[in-house]
């Protein structure tokens, strides 16, 4: 569990807005974290927090403005070759499973293409595919002859996971993997993902806005706010002892089944920005990203 396979080091991504304006937005601002073998990290944030951008940077769909990403100690931000080798080991699954499949290809053809593109030997091809499909709880005989539109969202997500299994990836970036799925099916997909991680040592970066699912599945939690990593640490520590006002606010606004919200508490989304500003201003003693306890870091000032 302790072996670090990917290191995100002071990652920065700026976007300029407007047609010709020079104004810059820090979509990702000085973010660092490690991904260990077999670890599930949930990257939590609201829309515009930069969580998806981090996923894209790791998948090399975007180039960072500054900072580095090391995969097995190799800096992938400067190494522009060997993209294919990288994709053999680092893969992404996205929110819309229907958009991830070519609608004209049957499932078996899609799996064939994995072998063609990423795996040199065709040895045991059929066996590998069958094993992977059985592992995600699907019947190969039945599923391989189907077109994507004949399958449900949950089934397609499982196929994407099976794909990662065949390729035996090290890091899987799952961006809002289950947000299009219904409550009754999403938990099974999560369980599957978690069990694979434990068995095969695959690491997952679970990008989501859903705190309760993040809590359920992840070992480590990262909280993003406006491009900044505001809190990072062991999941149970962050959920039980949140320090940053933004994390506190997020946790308070989870609708929890079994406990009702305090109705007397005025809950204005506008207030939170002021609270965060005050927090940054008043933290005289502590500056920057600081450890408050073992495996729990908080951003005290920008």
């Amino acid at each position: 569990m302790s072996e670090t396979i990917m290191k995100i080091d002071h990652l920065q991504k700026d976007f300029s807005i407007g047609l010709m304006s020079k104004k810059k937005v820090h979509a990702v601002n000085d973010v660092s974290f490690d991904i260990k073998k077999g670890e599930i990290i949930s990257l939590i944030g609201e829309s515009g927090s930069g969580k998806t951008t981090i996923g894209k940077l790791i998948l090399r769909l975007l180039r960072p403005s500054d900072g580095h990403i090391y995969y097995n100690d190799k800096d992938i931000t400067t190494d522009y070759k060997n993209k294919r080798d990288y994709y053999k080991k680092v893969q992404g699954i996205f929110q819309d499973p229907f958009a991830s499949f070519n609608p004209l290809f049957k499932i078996d053809r899609i799996f064939d293409m994995i072998f063609k593109n990423f795996i040199e030997s065709d040895k045991n091809k059929k066996e590998k595919i069958n094993d992977a499909l059985k592992c995600v709880g699907m019947n190969p005989e039945f599923i391989l002859r189907k077109y994507p539109h004949q399958l449900s969202g949950g089934q397609l997500q499982r196929l994407l996971i099976a794909r990662a299994l065949i390729m035996d990836v090290d890091v899987l970036v799952a961006d809002e993997l289950i947000s299009m799925l219904d409550a009754s099916t999403r938990i099974d997909v999560l369980n599957l993902l978690a069990s694979i991680c434990k068995e095969k040592g695959m690491a997952v970066l679970f990008v989501t806005h859903d705190l309760s699912l993040g809590y359920y599945i992840s070992d480590t939690t990262l909280i993003m706010h406006r491009g900044n990593l505001v809190e990072k640490g062991k999941t149970s520590l962050i959920y039980n002892n949140p320090v940053h006002p933004y994390t506190q606010m997020l946790l308070k606004s989870i609708p929890d089944i079994g406990k009702r919200w305090d109705k007397n508490e005025k809950f204005l989304p506008e207030d939170i920005n002021k609270k965060i500003d005050d927090f940054y201003k008043n933290s005289d003693i502590k500056k920057g990203f600081i450890e408050v306890e073992d495996d729990h870091k908080v951003l005290f000032s920008l």
């Binding site: 807005i17 407007g18 047609l19 010709m20 304006s21 104004k23």
Partner: protein, 329 residues
Amino acid sequence: MGKYLRKKLIIYLITFFFAVTLDWAIPRFMPGDPISMLLARFNGLENSSDIVRSTFTKSFGLDQPLITQYFGFWKSLFTGDLGISIYLYPKKVSEIISQALIYDILLLLPAILLSWIVGNKLGARSGVNKKVDNIMMPFFYVLTSSPYFWFAVLLVFFFGVKLQIFPVNGAYSNIMIPGFNIQFILDFLYHWVLPFLSLFMVMLGGWAIGMRNMIIYEMGSNYSKYMESLGSSEKLIRKYAFRNAILPQVTGLALQLGTIVAGAFTTEIVFSYPGIGYILLKALLNQDYFLIQGCFLFIVICVLVANFLVDIVYMLIDPRVRFSFSGEV
């Protein structure tokens, strides 16, 4: 917003530069040369032809190196001098164009504006009424898919040749002298009807189909549904839909207006109507460099100006465009 316009202006200036360069170069790449054509008309004197040729070549500046001709063209452009026509020697190009332009404006402006107004009304009507739609749409499709010249020939055949109600040739009778008197105006209008109709009808179909599709799209949009859920009358929802559906039509109108100066090439040829299209054809057939240049230059300027106006008008009528450039979103 000012920034946006400035940027657009720069783009238009660059476009203008390339358009003018092409405009100058293309006639010169055509095989043959205009002086021979001109001389062909003076073929009575045998030995003198060489002298006349060199005189003409010099006077048009065609003996100079190409690069000098090119810069000379830019220079005269800024002084407003478009040169002298070779084919209609010694008429000035600017004079020929301004004369032809009057006929184009009188023919095309009413055709475009009226077809736009009527087409939008009819299109909106068929967009909201299924029965009207079923009857009208086939007509619109036939109209918009028929080529201008074909429709013009049809009109000529029925009204000019078969029924002989309208004249089929020219902008006015040969015996008339152009002038601002009631007799000439009546004669002009008499000649104007068929070309006008041929343009009006074909354009009408296009506008109507565009409007109909936009209205159906807008009526099915979420804001229409929301208004319906809040108990708004069909009339109010239609009004809202129309306001949004008209936006792309305005762009189309402005662009169409920019092409007025290009004339209606085929229509003018069918009717021998002395607009710019007709002049341009003559200029091309006679390799009249200066007239071709003049006509194209005029077209380029007008199309660019029209596009620029569309950009401005769009900012005024569509808040989405307005705000997307002010950095507030």
